[in-house]
C-alpha cells in the first residue's frame, strides 16, 4: 500500500508473529529500492510464507522484489531480518544495520555490508532523499529508527507501538535505554509513525495529534 510519495508499507496480517515492512521505491541508482525490515522467510510454527506474500503484495504495487538495492534492518531479531539473507543472496542487495546488532545478525548467517550510525542517510544520485538515522537502543543494543523529515515519517521498528513499547527482556534489552530512546524520538515532528508490529492496531499511527497522544500515553503509563 502506498502511504506517501514513493513510500509503501506492508503491514503483516498473518497469524504468526512477523514484522511490518516498508519500501522506498526507486530511491537508489538505477531505480533500485530500499527495503526496511523484510521480516521472516516463513513464520515460525505455522510456516506461513511471509516473504513470498510480501513479494506478491509488492508486485501488486508494481515493485519488483528483484530490484531491491539496499535493506536496512532496524535491528537483528529474526522476525525483522531473516529474509534479508535471501534478498542479499538473490539480488546482491546491500545489508545495513547498526554494528551493535551485527553479532545477533551473524547467528542466522547474515553478513552486513555497511553499518548505520546516528547521522544522515542520503539516498539517490541527483537530488537525494534525506533520512535521519537515530540509534535507539533498548529493545536491542543496536536498534535504529529512520526518520524522513520531508514527509515527517518515523520508522520506529520495535521501539514504539500503539500504546505499547518493544520488550526489554530479550538479550541486550535495556529498559532505561529504551526510555531514553523514546524520549528522544518524542521530540521529532511526526506525521506518520510506522510501528514494527501492529498488535491489534493498524500498525501506522497517523496524524500529529495521534502520535503525540501515543507518546503521552507511553510516558504516563509505561515509561514513568
Amino acid at each position: 500500500m502506498r502511504l506517501v510519495k514513493n513510500l509503501y508499507t506492508y503491514v503483516w496480517s498473518g497469524s504468526n508473529n512477523n514484522c511490518n515492512t516498508c519500501v522506498f521505491a526507486a530511491t537508489l541508482s538505477e531505480g533500485r529500492h530500499l527495503m526496511v525490515d523484510p521480516g521472516h522467510i516463513n513464520t515460525p510454527f505455522y510456516q506461513e510464507p511471509s516473504f513470498d506474500r510480501l513479494l506478491k503484495e509488492m508486485k501488486e504495487d508494481g515493485i519488483d522484489g528483484g530490484e531491491i538495492g539496499l535493506v536496512v534492518l532496524t535491528h537483528a531479531h529474526p522476525d525483522h531480518c531473516e529474509a534479508a539473507v535471501v534478498i542479499q543472496d538473490k539480488t546482491k542487495a546491500l545489508i545495513a544495520l547498526h554494528e551493535a546488532d551485527e553479532a545477533t545478525y551473524q547467528v542466522i548467517g547474515g553478513k552486513a555490508d555497511l553499518y548505520l550510525d546516528e547521522g544522515d542517510l542520503l539516498l539517490g544520485e541527483r537530488r537525494p532523499a534525506k533520512f535521519c538515522v537515530y540509534h535507539s537502543p533498548g529493545h536491542s543494543p543496536g536498534h535504529i529508527t529512520l526518520y524522513w523529515p520531508e514527509q515527517k515519517v518515523l520508522i520506529a521498528g520495535d521501539v514504539i507501538f500503539y500504546h505499547s513499547t518493544g520488550r526489554v527482556d530479550l538479550p541486550g534489552g535495556n529498559a532505561k535505554a529504551l526510555k531514553q530512546s523514546i524520549e528522544k524520538l518524542a521530540q521529532l515532528d511526526i506525521e506518520y509513525l510506522l510501528c514494527g508490529h501492529s498488535y491489534g492496531h493498524p500498525g501506522i499511527i497517523k496524524g500529529k495529534e495521534a502520535v503525540r497522544e501515543n507518546f503521552e500515553f507511553l510516558m504516563r503509563n509505561i515509561l514513568f
Binding site: 546491500l94 555490508d113 542517510l121 544520485e125
Partner: protein, 193 residues
C-alpha cells in the same frame, strides 16, 4: 605332576611389563615433557585469561622442582611468547607483564619491550592507513549506488579483500615478531627462578 596356576589378568600384565626394556633417557625426557608441558601451558592460559595475577606466576611454579620445574617454566614462557599478537594491545600488555616477572626489570628486557612497542605501533599505523583507504573506496562504491551521508560506514572488516590485506600486512611483520619472541623467551629462560 606339574601344577598349573591360573593367572589373573593383572599378573599377566605385570609379567609382560617386567619383560619390557627400560625407557631410554631420551624417552624419559619426552615422557616428562608430555606430562609437565601442559601444566605450564595451563598456568599461562589462566594468567592470560585474567585468572591469576602476574606475581602469582612464580608461585605457580614453586611446587615443580629440578627438570620438571624447567619444563613447566619453559612451556609457560613459550605460551606467553606465542600469545603476543600485533594489534592485540590488552593481551600483549599482559604477556609483557608476565615476561617481566621472569626477566626482571633489566635493561635488556626494557629494550625488548621498546622494540615490541615500536613494531606494534608501525603495524597499527599501516593497518589504520590501509583501513582508511578501504573505507574510502567502500564509500565511493556506495555513492555510485546512490547511498551516502554521515550515517554510513562500510563494513571493511567483513570485506574479503580487506582480510587478505590485513593478513599480508601481518605476515610482513612475522620475522620481526618471531625474533622478538625468541629474545623474550631467552631473557626469561636465563633469569633464575
Amino acid at each position: 605332576m606339574e601344577e598349573h596356576k591360573i593367572k589373573s589378568a593383572w599378573e599377566i600384565a605385570q609379567e609382560k611389563i617386567a619383560r619390557m626394556p627400560d625407557l631410554t633417557s631420551e624417552e624419559l625426557i619426552k615422557q616428562k615433557e608430555r606430562e609437565f608441558e601442559p601444566i605450564g601451558e595451563a598456568i599461562a592460559k589462566k594468567y592470560l585469561g585474567g585468572g591469576i595475577r602476574a606475581t602469582e606466576l612464580k608461585t605457580g611454579l614453586i611446587k615443580y622442582r629440578g627438570a620438571e620445574g624447567q619444563i613447566v617454566k619453559q612451556a609457560l614462557i613459550s605460551s606467553l611468547a606465542q600469545s603476543i599478537e600485533l594489534g592485540n594491545d590488552v593481551r600483549n600488555k599482559r604477556a609483557m607483564e608476565g615476561f617481566q616477572v621472569f626477566a626482571g626489570a633489566s635493561i635488556a628486557f626494557e629494550e625488548a619491550r621498546n622494540t615490541f612497542d615500536s613494531i606494534n605501533s608501525e603495524f597499527e599505523q599501516e593497518i589504520q592507513q590501509r583501513h582508511k583507504m578501504f573505507e574510502t573506496l567502500g564509500k565511493d562504491k556506495l555513492q555510485r549506488l546512490g547511498i551516502s551521508g554521515s550515517a554510513i560506514r562500510p563494513n571493511v572488516k567483513g570485506n574479503e579483500d580487506w582480510q587478505h590485506e590485513e593478513n599480508r600486512i601481518r605476515q610482513s611483520f612475522d620475522m620481526k615478531v618471531d625474533r622478538l619472541r625468541k629474545d623474550l623467551v631467552q631473557l626469561a629462560q636465563d633469569a633464575q627462578l
